[in-house]
């Protein structure tokens, strides 16, 4: 806590995060409502916007950055993300494959 940011700097960080998040949310809603009905690949865009918003909120709201002071948290979040990806992607892979082989609608 050597150079604690001032009140205004602190507040600015939250407001920046908020504005960016609002923009990204609007973009996601707009994308789905305009082209989502016919084009399934819109989800790729939604995913990118969602990930961008996750990063924004982690940085500006939750202070997960590469600064030394917060590095423990960053390592923790990175490791958790790895486990999360293994679990979610593994599940979708296995159950999706099973659904295809059983001719089920997943």
């Amino acid at each position: 806590m050597a150079n604690e940011p001032s009140f205004a700097q602190h507040l600015r960080s939250y407001i920046t995060g908020y504005i960016l998040s609002v923009v990204l949310t609007l973009a996601a809603f707009a994308a789905v409502l305009t082209i989502g009905r016919e084009n399934k690949s819109v989800l790729l865009l939604v995913a990118l916007l969602g990930i961008a918003q996750l990063v924004v909120q982690l940085k500006y709201f939750l202070n997960v950055t590469t600064q030394r002071e917060y590095r423990d948290n960053l390592a923790l979040v990175a490791f958790s993300t790895l486990i999360l990806l293994i679990i979610v992607l593994g599940t979708v892979w296995i159950m999706g494959n099973l659904a295809v082989r059983m001719h089920a609608t997943m």
């Binding site: 423990d72 958790s80 293994i86 159950m95 494959n97």
Partner: protein, 691 residues
Amino acid sequence: MSATEHGWLGKLSWESLVFSNFLESPSINEAVASAAGSLVILASIAILGLLTWYRLWGPLWRDWLTSTDHKKIGIMYIVFAIVMLVRGLLEGMVMRAQQAAAPDGFLHADHFAQLFSTHGTIMVFFVAVPFLVGLINFAMPLQIGARDVAFPVLNQISLAVTVSSGILLMVSLVVGQFSTGGWSAYPPYTGGDFSPGVGPDYWIWAIVFSGAGTTLTGINFTVTVYKCRGPGMHLFRMPLFCWTVLCASILMIFAMPPLSVAALMLGLDRYLDFHFFTNDLGGNMMNYANLFWLFGHPEVYLLVLPAYGIFSEVFSTYSAKTLYGYKSLVIATMCIAILSFTVWLHHFFTMGQSPTINIAFGIATMLIAVPTGVKVYDWMATMYRGRIRFTTPMVYAIGFLILFVIGGLSGVILANPTVDFQVHNTLFLVAHFHNVLIPGVLFGILAGYNYWFPKAFGFRLNDKLGRLSAYLWFAGFMLTFFPLYVAGLLGMPRRSFTYADLTFKPYMIVAFIGAMVVLAALITLVVQFLVSIRDRHKTRVPVGDPWDGRSLEWASPAPVPAYNFVELPTVTDRDEFSEAKEHGRAYQRPKNYRDIELPKNNPLGFILCVTSGILMFALVWYIWWLALISALAILIAVIASTFRKETEYIIPASQLEKDTEAWLALVEKSEAVSRDLEDSPRNVGYSKLEL
């Protein structure tokens, strides 16, 4: 399904009591069930009676039930685990007897199914986990030079919900029937359509609550190891046990949620007519298998990693050598922890996914053998040219080394999907996992129990009986489970209460004889405990270092005072206490005495134990008003406890000075005893410097 269908006691009625069945239709099957139920009731009455007779309620409440001391919480965990171990073992014996007597067995299929369901559930969730958590609670903060775990009250809460879930399982012996769906409780069999009784509900709530306790424990231990180490205790100076604790705790944090989710979803299916795992309306029971083993595989390593840690301490201490390949052991532990998240599919190779997926997971499974092999070689190299003493923990460790490798190899065989298709669901699998869990985990906790007992209570356990028990365990284990490999290869399905093909019979009889040897081992353990208490005046080790220990837990008196260390030791090396003894830094007078602040006693844990127990019972029996009241009581108790202001008490410096001076005077007049004499009455816990 709805509340209106039942009276104010929910599904509960006179017929729910186990004895009513016996009175209506007496048979050996019902007699066994009633005997078990009576045993639970009589044992409870006996304990309550003894406590009252000896006026122990006050001390029990002050010193134990409300304590936030990690050492006492650890001991309570272990006492609980031992009680459950006895039940789990007896259930195993009854099953072996049934299969040996088959085809003319004495149990009904339903009763047999309850036995294997409770046996598995108890052994994994209420023996292995709490025993290890207890040992970790006791030893880990001492080893890293900490005053307590990071969150002492949370620790108490974890214990509370674990114990109340265990009590729920005991209650299921008397009231109603437990699940017949195995420890893994696969739907749709355990769903409302096929198991309309209360059995699976008992399973669900015991799992959900004890799972929550284990998750909280994992958080607590991770933070303790990560943030509460004493001065100078770098991560790479920690005893290996602490590394394995860290990795196991990470597994608790990340592997318990899938189990909780699976159990809760099964609960939603049963209670609120959801369709997660049902046969109809788009439910998918394969999702359950996937979720369960997302937890189940890391769970195996959650159990075995701390046991590896205990063995590492034991090998090093009783070989009087520093641990060989410390860094490789640390890296191997971390590799195993991460790999354990990538192999869960090998529990359901036969589900119907493509061979590509099976191969991927099969290879990942085989990879785990590599870091495990590294560990085995490191342990052997630790013993090489060491001055080995064959004490009880060391005997367990050597037995582990040999038997566990066999179990591990049978695991590599099973990791091959084509082989697995042949032996899936046979006794081969039962033999395999008992072959890793008994030598791996059970021997580990028994070694740890013998190793740390003098630290906890101030006197040694009888080593002769300890070794006898260990040898009986080896023999009993081999006789019981090696025949099952053969029976499995011959095609005998697991979980069968009877069989028509008499080819299996000889193997089942040998296995039953083995189970009797295991029973002898258990009895020897009890006798060892009682004899050790009788002889305690000859085996006291008040100075605190009976085994020429190498890590910090041996640097304080035995039993350890509430504050652990008068002055937190400044660590300069691995094997800190060995170094300290060698360089004359051990048993030093602190430069100055300062007050120590410790967490006060807190009744929250006990309150949560009672209320969560009532909540679970009410949920199982659909007694909604009681469930609501107990849930509110939990909420209010937790919120009220956050309003407590005075949460610490002070141990004054004068008290510390008095204690320490008395201890140092004792050290002064004690005879230093060589390692070879550690089993003689001369060993008062002051070991002679031998290089």
